[in-house]
Amino acid sequence: MEQCTAEEEKDIQCQTISPKMMEKLVEVIVSEKDEKDEEIPAYLFSKLKSARIVTSTGHGKRYFRKAEELMEKNKNRFTPWREDTLAKSDPIFVRRHGDVICELVMLNLAADKKGFTIINFTGDMDEQFMETLSRGKLPDN
């Protein structure tokens, strides 16, 4: 997850939001809080340190399988968010440090099996963060 291969693969794009940009982002959200009541809670952003979103428009299934293999290979580092889950949706893996999740990775294969997305967040994501996300219904932009 640390290295993007966007240059090697034309159908892959990597978008990075560095810790510095994330800080700016939080500052902007806090300063405009009163104007935008319907935005995603600033709390969620404040818990993030960086974000990387890798998207592919083709070979989704192959990339998805490869990503799952990598996660399996690094199972000492990443564990599934819910190991006892019965549902078969997008797999989410986390890296914990004590009670806090310091890294979250989600793999998403599009319905047409061509598109593929990896979302990688780092930060100090606590239980409240995960609960807020699990409740869903985040306001759309």
Partner: protein, 179 residues
């Protein structure tokens, strides 16, 4: 000896006086030494006797045979204690091993100290954020991107939770039907 006894002590006194002024010749000094070596020296000249006889006394004082014997015995004893030993490579390299061990201990302790004093957040984040190059210059665009990503994660988490609760309730009702 007799001739010195008859000598005029004044002459000796004069010689002594000249001796202290460093004006005496070798022959005169020999006369003084000869005079002071005699057993009977007048009382007022007794104080100089030791001075002029000192050299002779030093020549006379010799180490006895016993001294030589003791020194020889000591040397022989030391020879018996000292033994030639063959130094093995292990023994020769022992200082090197000791230095290496000391360095290893220092590095291990240093490393342990570094790890224990590291801030928990630092330990958790082993990413090199310096290498991160932002894809957006505008925070508003970055905001949209992160918001979309959060939406996707949120959707997946809530779907998982819903599916889980449905599957669990269906499994529970199946269990009840069996009973």
């Amino acid at each position: 000896m007799q001739k010195y006894r008859d000598m005029d002590y004044k002459y000796i006194e004069q010689l002594v006086e000249r001796y202290w002024q460093c004006q005496t010749s070798v022959e005169e000094e020999a006369i003084l030494k000869a005079f002071f070596s005699q057993p009977h020296v007048p009382v007022h000249l007794q104080t100089y006797k030791a001075w002029f006889n000192g050299e002779k006394m030093l020549q006379d004082s010799q180490l006895g045979r016993e001294f030589d014997t003791r020194v020889l015995m000591r040397i022989e004893n030391e020879d018996m204690v000292v033994k030639a030993r063959r130094a093995t490579w292990t023994k020769r390299l022992m200082p090197l091993y000791k230095a290496a061990a000391a360095l290893a201990i220092i590095f291990t302790l240093g490393n342990a100290a570094q790890t224990s004093f590291r801030h928990p957040e630092e330990a958790a984040s082993d990413y090199n954020y310096e290498s991160y190059k932002d894809s957006f210059d505008d925070p508003a665009m970055a905001y949209d991107q992160v918001s979309d990503a959060l939406q996707m994660v949120s959707q997946s988490l809530s779907e998982t939770a819903q599916q889980d609760s449905l599957l669990q309730s269906s499994a529970a009702s199946d269990e009840l039907k069996k009973q």
